[in-house]
Symmetry: D5
Subunit: 133 residues, 10 copies
């Protein structure tokens, strides 16, 4: 289960200036939900049904008072490892957890998921959301 309580901040050393931080990992993995229900995989039998998903996650933000601490972010990403979750929920959940903890001036999360059934998916969510034009 995603554990946002793992996230930690450190004080932004240049908070008087808007500048951009991009953090990317190609080691994000979670499980496909089994029967559409989010849950932890606690044994191999469940894993058979809830097949692993793999993604590259790219986080872009302008820090305000806080920056997200890299090691804590890594642990937070690891907490999805045995969790059954849809692509759309995973990306939006990461955005919500990070916005709640880091309180940035703006943030975008991109999840670029491996091919499944010949289809590749890329999900992009931003806070604040883009204006409807």
């Amino acid at each position: 289960m995603p554990k946002p309580e793992l996230l930690e901040n450190f004080p932004n050393p240049y908070a008087d200036r808007d500048y951009e931080i991009v953090i990317e990992t190609n080691e994000f993995t979670s499980l496909c939900p089994l029967g559409g229900i989010e849950s932890d995989a606690t044994d191999l039998d469940l894993l058979k049904g809830g097949a692993p998903d793999f993604a590259t996650i790219r986080l872009t933000y302008v820090p305000d008072v806080n920056c997200v601490e890299l090691k804590s972010l890594k642990l937070y990403f690891w907490s999805f490892r045995n969790d059954g979750i849809f692509y759309e929920r995973a990306v939006n959940r990461i955005l919500d957890d990070l916005v709640a903890k880091v309180n940035p001036r703006r943030m975008t999360v991109v999840g670029d998921f491996n091919v499944r059934g010949g289809l590749k998916s890329v999900i992009t969510a931003s806070w604040p959301p883009p204006a409807r034009g």
Copy 2:
């Protein structure tokens, strides 16, 4: 024959936010129309005339109430396999079928077709269509 009745939705888990979903397949194949008439290829003789086309299809949309379910989308793409259809019609047809079913906030379909006669074609259609400027 394209079968839009194969398409299925699931509820958008973050409908209060505009976010973008990109789905891409490099396994789209249909047939070149024989004598300009759309039809199903029911035997090899027809296939000889209606040569196979191959394309990468890239779908980009902002979901509203619904997201398109990936497995149903795959089956829908498969339903073009033995269908004789022009490039321009295929791309616009996919856009219309998906807009009708998914009812997104906006959607773009790109079809990037393999070289034929030394010419490569890329067709891009959007809903709502771009403003004429």
Copy 3:
């Protein structure tokens, strides 16, 4: 000699919508003009003077009532094969011939020519021409 009379149209199947068609060939070849005079190469002696040029041509347009038929476009490109013509004239001529025949909502032609004398040239012309800003 370029033969625009080879170009043929077919009716745009989705004329109520602005959508974009890109057609690209990396098999365009013409001749360098001999003494600056456009002409057909009718034997090898002329070819010695009017050296072959090679280019990738990329055509982007939004169709109105008509789409250009791919096979006829291929034949039209072939008609430059033994013709002596400058880069700048070739690209603008292709634009003019296609606009006259297809009558699109907008069109851009890019000619990306192979290195000659260590110099690579790319020519881009559009209709309607870009506003002078």
Copy 4:
């Protein structure tokens, strides 16, 4: 069903010399066998079970008296389109059909299949088979 009777030869114009011909297509498609039984897909219901496979096929051979005619080879590859067949069988079958028809001095067939379930497969078969060392 693969139709080797579509294959045609033309006389090797330089049969006194060993030289190599490589022919490659990235447009090979067949179906996954349904319940392990090879068969033609005659309607969409079958296609649902027998999912499409996509591959790049690369054929390398030294011709003897005959060369394989390109257009007939294309039609032969098309005859796999609605056929349910395993990867291993497809590659070895292509090798056997071509060796029987073309009677080359040597031939290798490589099938490079798209990712399925996160696994990519490449099958390589040669005639005469490599010596066991």
Copy 5:
């Protein structure tokens, strides 16, 4: 814990011929051993210590009587997901498990592991092992 009992074979359809099969996945993941002891990760606390490893695994073999069934191979690879294991042991273990089950004429396993501490590792093991020269 790696579960070789998940592996299944199917009969090699062309067993009279030596031909090569390559299977590659870029979705292999296991855990770094905690204190050098192989074990399953049963909760997040363990995961904190036994950090995830990611690798591309490439398997090359010449089948004898059997071919490894792809879906069973995928499940076998998944069984490493929550297992603490060294790179060297993982690659050699995969080789041993597959040789024991599939009994191939020859087989090579390559594990290409993601960068850790600025160091990238690639391990290659073969059966029968290469002659010492």
Copy 6:
């Protein structure tokens, strides 16, 4: 310790015109801070704790009266070699030092840091900072 006193200018030869200069090095290295305290690494023991970081630094600016002299810039970058400093501070510090010395019309510094713990970071800071929109 970063030594901005190493930076030297030369007079901009075309100061009457806004033009852009990009300078990039893939040879920037500093140390990870030990216990969060910036300091010089004076022996190997410190280095064990304060692990080396590696980055590509890309500087883009429009010169006013001065251009930064390349050799002095190289020496300035070298002065970070044994300095313990956070990514965010390094990029913003480089921007501040260069703005103070060169007094450009505008300047952007991008630091693209190597993967650590599976996470890659890219920091971008500009002067004057972008308008908040």
Copy 7:
């Protein structure tokens, strides 16, 4: 019609040493034979039937007494421009013409032809031909 009489040599300046020369052009073009008969294209009507072919030609040789002069080689390649010729014949013909003129210690010609009907062809011929093993 290919004109080997255009080829010229210059004396090998280091004939006492075996060294290798590779010459490659991506600007080779000829015509597809019309009805299988080699001939020159003298007007557009013929060109319609005998469609243009495009190839990269790579020539590798060890010179003996002579080296081929580059400008004459270029003119020789141009003499295929309006000639109807099969791939296999073109590559072997180039080899024969060059071996006859340059009399090298060894020579290989590779013709890498553009995709036609979804099939790409690469022809390789050598003099002396490889030993049959």
Copy 8:
């Protein structure tokens, strides 16, 4: 010494339309100035001090009445070969010389210089210069 008197024009064949011409060479070379003084290198001793610089130059312009003639442009670029000149001056000088001769509607010159001391430089100058915003 740069010789703008080598530049020649030809009449723009489509002067009634704004269209863009890009010309790029990766064969630009000049010398590093010796002691900051621009001069010609007349012997090897000078060359030892004034080390060679190498760059890719990319010229983009919209022609008005004239187009720059390619061969004359090549000769003009060659005239920098033994000239000691700074990067910033070279790019702006090329822009000034070409604007003075060709009198375009707009023009941009980019000089992308090889790495020196681990630093790569790219200089971009335009006429008319960009508005200060």
Copy 9:
């Protein structure tokens, strides 16, 4: 100064089989020797003279009784950071230190150094050295 005493082994888990381990880092840095004398850089003044070198180091070996422990190898590579050493000596030194500690069946070290003065260097040393043929 290189500190081979930092290197540590762990027991090869599959010592009965010859298998290959490749370890690569693109984060190797040392200093250019000052006046040809190997020494540690203890302050910035020395660094000015002994400019930093950067390399990718690739180590390939077949372990016997021992494998090199990755973290200790990383620390060993770090010990070159402030050391003045020639390319040729660095690569051979790394080979000697590792052979002495790990006692492998065979080992190769490749150092691929960044461009200096327009020249790129790659040094390859093996133990046992290749037979002179």
Copy 10:
């Protein structure tokens, strides 16, 4: 004129072992010979005739007692800058000059020259020359 007297050696620090050194530059430039006569370009008029050539030179050798000093090698390469010389002669000349000075156990020189007239040339010479097989 090539000046082999610029070349300098330093003692091979590991002469008891055969190891390989590769040095590559993409900044080699010379002139095309004017009328086939080798000579120095002393003014621009000559340069007009003797057009510049550009090449990547790659030198591979196993040192014996000596290694070639990098800075002296750079100066030696610069001495070709205003020299009119054929490709074949340049590569063999570099090989002869370096073998005479460095006296290596073996050496190969590759010259990879930029496209001229649509033809790219790569020349490879070795000492001792390869056995005629």
